[in-house]
Symmetry: C2
Subunit: 457 residues, 2 copies
C-alpha cells in the first residue's frame, strides 16, 4: 500500500469538494443528463420490485420501532420512516433482486443504489427541484466511480465497492442537495470515508443488499453532520491513514480529479437485462438463443459446455444453490433456467424454482472452462444433445452491455415487469413518465410518493 | 493478506457465537467482574464529562430531527433519542476528551466505548438486569479485543480498531442482551463485519470520536437485524472476502477462539490518568515530578529534552496545535501544560489555553528523541535551566499503566472531576455507588437516567 502521491494530487479531497460545489447543471451535456434519467428509471423499477422481497420486510420490521418521524416513503409500500432509515430500506430493496445497474469501466460497481436511496429520501423531506435532484445524482455517481477506480485494483480484494465507494457518492450527492460549502463538503467526504465498509462475504444472504442500503444511510448521515459543521479531516481520501492509504492497493489518486467536468462516469452506466450478476448475461443470452433456434427441450440435453471469462467462476461459482438468493451466484442455475423457461426473470430465482429437482438435474449437466481471453460480456456455449448433435453459439456482447445496451423501450418493459404486482397500469405509466421527466418537476420527492400504490398510501 | 487458516480455525465465527450464547455469568471470576465495573465506572464518567463538548452538541443538533422515539438518554443531558441515535451520541461523548480506557496487550484499543454505548441504550429501552448487563459488557470487550488482536498487526496500518473491531464487540454485547441464538449471533457478527469501518485520518477533529459512536450504533443495528432474522454470512470473520481476509494483515484466526472463557481481555483494561493518548502519560508524569521536586517555574526553563517510545511521535507529533483537539496529539503541548500547571486535565486542552502565547513559547523549547528500547509506558525527561542546571527523571511505568493502574479511589476522584460541572455532589456520589454495584440492580437502564441532572431531566 502506498501513501500520498506527488504534489499535484495532494488535496484531492478539497479539489473534489470544490468541483461538487461549483458544478452547474447547464454544463452537463444533454446525453449525460439522459443517461442519468435512465439510471434513475432503472433504479426506481428495481426498488419498487425489490420492495416485495423478504429482505425488505425483515429489515423494516427490525428497525421500524427505532425510526424517527415519517419523513420519507419506503418505495412501493405505505410505510414512512425518517430519511436515514428510509434510505437504508430503499437501498436494500433496490439491490435485492440483483437487477440494478452496473458500471464496469474499470471496477464493477452498481452506482445508482447508494446515491438515489439517499437523495430521494432527502428530497422527499427537505424538498428539491427536479433539476438539482438529477444533478446531484450525476455528481454522486461521478464521485463513487472515480474514487473506486482510483483506490481499488482492477479486480478488488473483497470490498463491495458499491458500498465502500458508494458511501462517498451518497455523501456527495446529499451534500450537494444540502448546499454544503466546499469546506463542509470536505468534511462530508471525510465522515463518509470513515464509514466506508462493506464486504463481499455475504452472497446469498440479505446482508449483500444491506451493504447498499447502509452506504446510502451512512452517506446521508455524513452530509447531514457536515451541514451542521461537524468537523472531519479535510484530507479524508489522500491523507495519512486515510481512505486511499488504508483501503487501497496501489491507489492512483490522480484518477479522482483528472478531467473532472470533462467526462461523466454515469455515461458508462449499464442496466441489467436479467436479475443476476452481469457476468451471467452472455451465458443466458446464448442459452436462450440456442433454445429458440433449435426448439430444444431440456430433456434432450446431454451436456452443456461453457467457455467464459474467469470472473464468472469467481463471482457465480455456487454450483448447488439452495434458494433463490444463492442461485443468483450460480452460473449453472442461470443455464438451467434459460434452457427450461426461455427467459430469466425474477421468477427464475424464487426458492421453489431453484429447489425443483428437474432444475437441479439440468444444473448438474453443465461444465465450465474459464478463459482469460473471453471478455466479460462474451461467452461461448455448446450443447451436446442426447441424440449426439452439438449445437453451439458465441455471444460477443451480451444484452445489457455497454456495446449492446437496453434501449429506453427495453427499460420501460423491464420497469413494467418489475412493478406489475405492486402498481396499477395507470400508476405504472405515470411513474415511468415521471422518471423520464424528473428534471422538469418542481418537487423531486413526488417520485417517491408516486411509487406507493394508492391502496397502501 | 492471507485467506482461510487450517481446519481447526475454520468456523471461528460460529465458535465465537456459540461461546457468546453459552457463557454464564457465574463462570466469570470475581476479579474480572470487578474490572468490568471499573471499566463501566470510567466510561460513565467520561461520557458525562464529554457530554459538554461541542462535538456532542453538534452531532445532537444535526441528527435530532431524524431520531425515533425517546427510548434512551443522552448521558449528562436531558435529551432522549431512539436507542441507535443515543448510542451514536453517547459513544462520541465518551471518547471526545480522550480520557477513556485503553487496552494494549497487543494492539491499542479503547474497548468500553462502542460496547457500553450500545448496551446501555438498549438496556434503558428494553430492560436488562444488572448482572446480564455487566456480563454483556465483559463479552463485548472479549470479542473486540480478540478480533482486533487476531486480525491487525502489532501496530495497525490506519484502521481505528476501537471502531473496526468495536462494531463486533457492540454487536456481540447487544446480541447477548437480546438473547440471540447461536445462528442469529453469527448473523449479528456478519452484519457487524460488513459495517467495520473507521480511519485514523481524523485526529484533532470531531470525527475521531464519531468513529466510536458510529461503531456502537452500527453494532446495535447488527444485533437488532439479526434478532429479526435478517440473514448474513455465517463465516463473516474467516470466510472468503470476510473480515480477516480483507481487513487483515497476516491474520491469526486462532487468536479469536483459543482459550475462550479461560482468560478475559477486560482484565487487561487500563484507565487514563490524563485526557490524552496514553503514550503521553510517562512524559506528563515526569514533567510534573520535576516541577514539584525542583519548584521549577516555566520561566526558568531553557530546554526540555525527551527520550520516548517511537509511538509518541507517530501518534502525537503535532508540534504546533491550533486548538484543544489538536493539542491532544501534541507531545510538546503535554510538556508545556505539565510544567505550567503541575497538572494535566481537561482544562489544559481548551482552545484558549492551547492558544496562549506563553504555552506556545514553552512548547517551542521541547526536543524529542524516539528510542525503540523505551517502553510505551516509560520516558526519560531532562530539563536544562537558564542558570545552567540539568534536572532529569526517568519514568518506568506511568500512572494509568497496567503496572501502575489507577486505584478504585483514583477512579472515583477522576469521575468527580469529570462530572463536577454537570451533576450535584449528591447526584455524583449516587452515580458512583451505582457504577460499583451495577450487577446487583434489577434495571441497568437506571444507570443512564442517573447521569441526567435533575434540572435537565
Amino acid at each position: 500500500m502506498t501513501g500520498s502521491q506527488p504534489s499535484k494530487t495532494s488535496g484531492v479531497t478539497r479539489c473534489l469538494a470544490q468541483f461538487l460545489v461549483d458544478s452547474r447543471f447547464t454544463d452537463i451535456p444533454r446525453e449525460v443528463r439522459h443517461e442519468a434519467r435512465r439510471s434513475l428509471h432503472n433504479w426506481v423499477g428495481c426498488a419498487v420490485g425489490g420492495s416485495r422481497d423478504p429482505a425488505v420486510a425483515t429489515a423494516l420490521a427490525a428497525v421500524r420501532e427505532y425510526s424517527g418521524p415519517p419523513q420519507a416513503s419506503v418505495l412501493g409500500r405505505g410505510d414512512r420512516l425518517d430519511i436515514m432509515t428510509a434510505a437504508l430500506v430503499n437501498g436494500i430493496g433496490s439491490h435485492v433482486d440483483d437487477f440494478d445497474d452496473t458500471q464496469q469501466r474499470r471496477i464493477i460497481i452498481h452506482p445508482a443504489g447508494p446515491v438515489v436511496a439517499a437523495i430521494l429520501a432527502l428530497a422527499e423531506h427537505r424538498g428539491a427541484g427536479g433539476e438539482e435532484f438529477l444533478h446531484a445524482l450525476i455528481l454522486g455517481v461521478e464521485v463513487e466511480c472515480r474514487v473506486a477506480n482510483a483506490v481499488y485494483p482492477y479486480y478488488d480484494v473483497g470490498w463491495m465497492t458499491t458500498s465502500t465507494a458508494g458511501v462517498l457518492g451518497a455523501a456527495a450527492a446529499a451534500g450537494r442537495l444540502l448546499r454544503l460549502d466546499a469546506t463542509q463538503m470536505t468534511w462530508a467526504l471525510g465522515i463518509a470515508v470513515t464509514q466506508a465498509a462493506g464486504l463481499r462475504v455475504h452472497p446469498g444472504t440479505m446482508t449483500k443488499s444491506f451493504n447498499v442500503g447502509s452506504a446510502a444511510q451512512r452517506g446521508l448521515l455524513a452530509a447531514l453532520l457536515a451541514a451542521g459543521n461537524f468537523t472531519a479531516s479535510e484530507q479524508g481520501i489522500e491523507g495519512t491513514h486515510g481512505f486511499a492509504e488504508v483501503m487501497g492497493d496501489n491507489p492512483r489518486l490522480s484518477v479522482v480529479t483528472e478531467g473532472l467536468g470533462e467526462t461523466y462516469e454515469i455515461s458508462y452506466n449499464t442496466y441489467k437485462a436479467y436479475p443476476c450478476g452481469m457476468v451471467l448475461f452472455p451465458i443466458i443470452d446464448g442459452c436462450i438463443q440456442l433454445r429458440e433456434k433449435n426448439e430444444l427441450d431440456p430433456g434432450q440435453i446431454e451436456r452443456i459446455d461453457l467457455q467464459v471469462n474467469p470472473l464468472v467462476l469467481d463471482l457465480t461459482g455456487e454450483m448447488s444453490p439452495r434458494d433463490g438468493l444463492e442461485a443468483k451466484f450460480s452460473f449453472n442455475h442461470a443455464v438451467a433456467a434459460a434452457f427450461t423457461c426461455g427467459a430469466v426473470g425474477v421468477s427464475q430465482f424464487i426458492d421453489a424454482f431453484v429447489q425443483n429437482p428437474k432444475i437441479a438435474a439440468l444444473r448438474a449437466r453443465v461444465t465450465v472452462r474459464a478463459d482469460p481471453s473471453t471478455e466479460r460480456d462474451a461467452a461461448a456455449i455448446a450443447v451436446v444433445t442426447k441424440d449426439g448433435r452439438t449445437l453451439s453459439v458465441r455471444i460477443e456482447h451480451c444484452h445489457g452491455s455497454l456495446a449492446h445496451p437496453l434501449s429506453d423501450g427495453d427499460l420501460d418493459a423491464k420497469f413494467r415487469g418489475l412493478v406489475k404486482e405492486t402498481l396499477t397500469e395507470d400508476e405504472t405509466e405515470a411513474l415511468i413518465r415521471l422518471c423520464w421527466s424528473v428534471d422538469s418537476v418542481d418537487d423531486a420527492g413526488m417520485l417517491a410518493r408516486a411509487t406507493v400504490p394508492a391502496d397502501a398510501a
